[in-house]
Subunit: 414 residues, 2 copies
């Protein structure tokens, strides 16, 4: 009996004697904070080789102490002195700047959590992959902006990519290791956002406050606006296309307002498997941190009886033209997803700043895609650097176009 | 390019050059016919070592020719001459009787499909397992009547058990090879049957015709009545307990009238995976036949948007006492599931023959469990033979009790 109890304990801590070494890039953002929440609950399961953040030196110092990080990098060099000061008296090493973030990314580790938001996350994540590190990926740009070259590096270095996005994580779990060549369709769900039931005219004229009022998820403003245009689902399909290696024509989106079923995979025999969870990012983060084991989280458990009904609708590309643009960019491939993503990000900034209307986001993205096709900017990026160059060019161009829009916008959009 | 196309073809027929050798036990029943439908669609993928059936010699002869079986066994010796005659001029070997069915079960094969209905399926299926054959299991009695010793043989001989039941197959797919020790709960769904919304009094007085009117599945009369009492879900939980090795307290049932989600598994991190499909038995049968590959079936594909809503309710043990009895039998273990199953089968026969009312089924099972606990019949069966002995004793006793009931029933139940 004593032997039995002993062997059971071994099963619950099957990762072995050594804690799993984690690098956390983007430690002070939304995903970063949820990751820290899980890491600090299981100090025997995980050790933290390095963390990196952008500007918030105070939060970064608190986090470094909480997770007992060995090394901390702050991207903004102006924060260096304050971070160094806050960590004086600890053994934690401190460095600042772009190279410092890359150093954090490439420290010896079992898993790199890539949660830096935006294009700034691509270079350090790619550096980790190039060393063959396994990466838990929350940064969208790695796949949307630089998908093909990014995945090439992962394949060449046999680095494993684990998706943190709830949709891709659900699909990864639903696949259960089965070969992607056997699937008929791969479907992600969309909550439909705050404008799911609105008319096209009402959506066109939506205010920033209305667009930020997401029914199910608490996210940053950029992602919340992308959820309102449904552009986020287009970007996620492009991510799924790359991370799972699924042809564009097998990918689909359905609207599911309860946000419980996050992704589904269907097979040629008629079987379908699905990944479900309450909307809590700690669930997919914990799955990635522990994979292929599991850890316990305090996330609320799914109770389908309490929820009562799960409903499903077809997404309306008329009312949500941004999704249609993303589907076109994914199908056409080349550099179009890179252009789409960059133009969208600048358009969302312009909307949040009150410079264009809600309907102007998709119109700007459509214009940017057309311009890039005409002048060759939408060429297939040959490398991650090439993709980041296209991204940079499009952002600059979009900023210019939307600055001009501002002047006329004062007359036509208000 | 030519190389690429060639390697793709290899992927779609990855089973290799040799067709998979199948034994099909119960070839003329509902599961058997669906299996034959799939086998005849893929003659290059499968060859049939043997088939076995009960009484229907004409159907068995037609099936043997259709699947090009090498050997056919008919359980009923009276059918031998007619079967032999129908297959004269073919190379198909013919034999009859109990031993012949065991010979069919133990012919050299890659997979034995166990689809004989009732206790008659246990001995041949167990004989196949004892030789280490992989078994696709549709027969309920193997696990409900003789679960512990049956699974012991499978473990000892390293035989793989693949579940054909839609609920267990869905869970098997949802598990995706993950270790069962990591799960928090395992849930099967119930359609709720024809009496889902009926009052307790109306259910008590339900007629045979009403009970046979199942909303979603076309099944034999025994299974259809079990779906109306919800006893089928109790039997399925007992099966899940054995086939997946999950403790009784982690097993659950929820009512899901659309019968689309068939089973769910939840993990300690809050993730849930689910298996879904339209109600068509060819889906789980095809999954088992091809496992770990996949084959294409003509089964209708799942369209969640067309279905619109999936709803979930708590099962009501007050109105469906048979489910409560099964849960008690599963939790108590020992020989109680064996007693439950035998008593239920005789009670359902009595109901179908008009000898007891619908409410009498659960009352009879409760009486049988109590009697077996009192006199030691509910002892833990030490072997498959022992379990079949208990099964036999309980059936005889139930027949006796319900024959007596008949006389008084004429006065009180009509």
């Amino acid at each position: 009996m004593a032997t039995g109890a002993g062997s059971e304990q071994f099963v619950t801590r099957a990762r072995g004697a050594r804690p799993k070494r984690i690098v956390l890039l983007g430690a002070t953002g939304s995903i970063g904070r949820s990751t820290v929440d899980l890491l600090t609950r299981d100090p025997e399961g995980f050790s933290v080789a390095a963390i990196a953040g952008g500007r918030d030196h105070a939060a970064l110092a608190r986090t470094a102490i909480a997770v007992k990080a060995e090394f901390v990098a702050i991207r903004d060099e102006e924060g260096y002195a304050a971070l160094k000061e806050a960590l004086s008296g600890t053994n934690i090493q401190v460095a600042a700047g772009r190279e410092a973030v890359i150093e954090a990314a490439t420290r010896e580790a079992d898993l790199v959590v890539s949660a830096i938001v935006g294009a700034a996350g691509v270079e350090p994540t790619h550096a980790a992959l190039a060393l063959g590190r396994d990466v838990a990926l929350a940064n969208k740009e790695c796949l949307v902006c630089a998908g093909a070259p990014f995945m090439r590096t992962a394949r060449e270095r046999s680095a494993r990519l684990l998706p943190i996005d709830s949709e891709h994580n659900a699909i990864f779990q639903a696949l259960g290791g089965e070969d992607v060549s056997k699937i008929e369709t791969m479907t992600i769900t969309a909550s439909g956002g705050p404008f799911r039931t609105w008319t096209r005219e009402a959506i066109e004229a939506a205010t920033v406050e209305q667009a930020l009022n997401h029914p199910n998820w608490a996210m940053g403003p950029k992602n919340t606006i992308d959820s309102a245009t449904l552009m986020n689902k287009g970007l996620e399909l492009i991510e799924a296309h790359h991370i799972f290696g699924v042809p564009a024509e097998k990918l689909d989106v359905i609207v599911h307002p309860q946000s419980i079923v996050h992704g589904l995979v269907s097979f040629s025999d008629g079987s379908v498997t699905a990944g479900l969870a309450r909307p809590d990012m700690r669930v997919p983060i914990a799955h990635c941190l522990a994979y292929p084991e599991r850890i316990e989280t305090p996330a609320p458990r799914l109770d389908l009886v309490a929820i009562g009904a799960l409903t499903f609708e077809k997404p309306d590309l008329e009312r949500f033209p941004a999704l249609g643009l993303a589907l076109e960019a994914m199908r056409a491939g080349g550099g179009l997803p890179t252009v789409l993503n960059a133009a969208n990000e600048i358009a969302v900034e312009a909307f949040l700043a009150g410079r264009i209307g809600f309907g102007g986001i998709a119109r700007h993205v459509a214009d940017a895609l057309e311009a890039a096709l005409e002048d060759g900017t939408a060429r297939e990026p040959g490398s991650v650097e090439d993709a980041l160059d296209i991204d940079h060019i499009v952002r600059e161009r979009s900023r210019g176009a939307l600055a001009m829009n501002r002047a006329s916008g004062m007359l036509t959009l208000q």
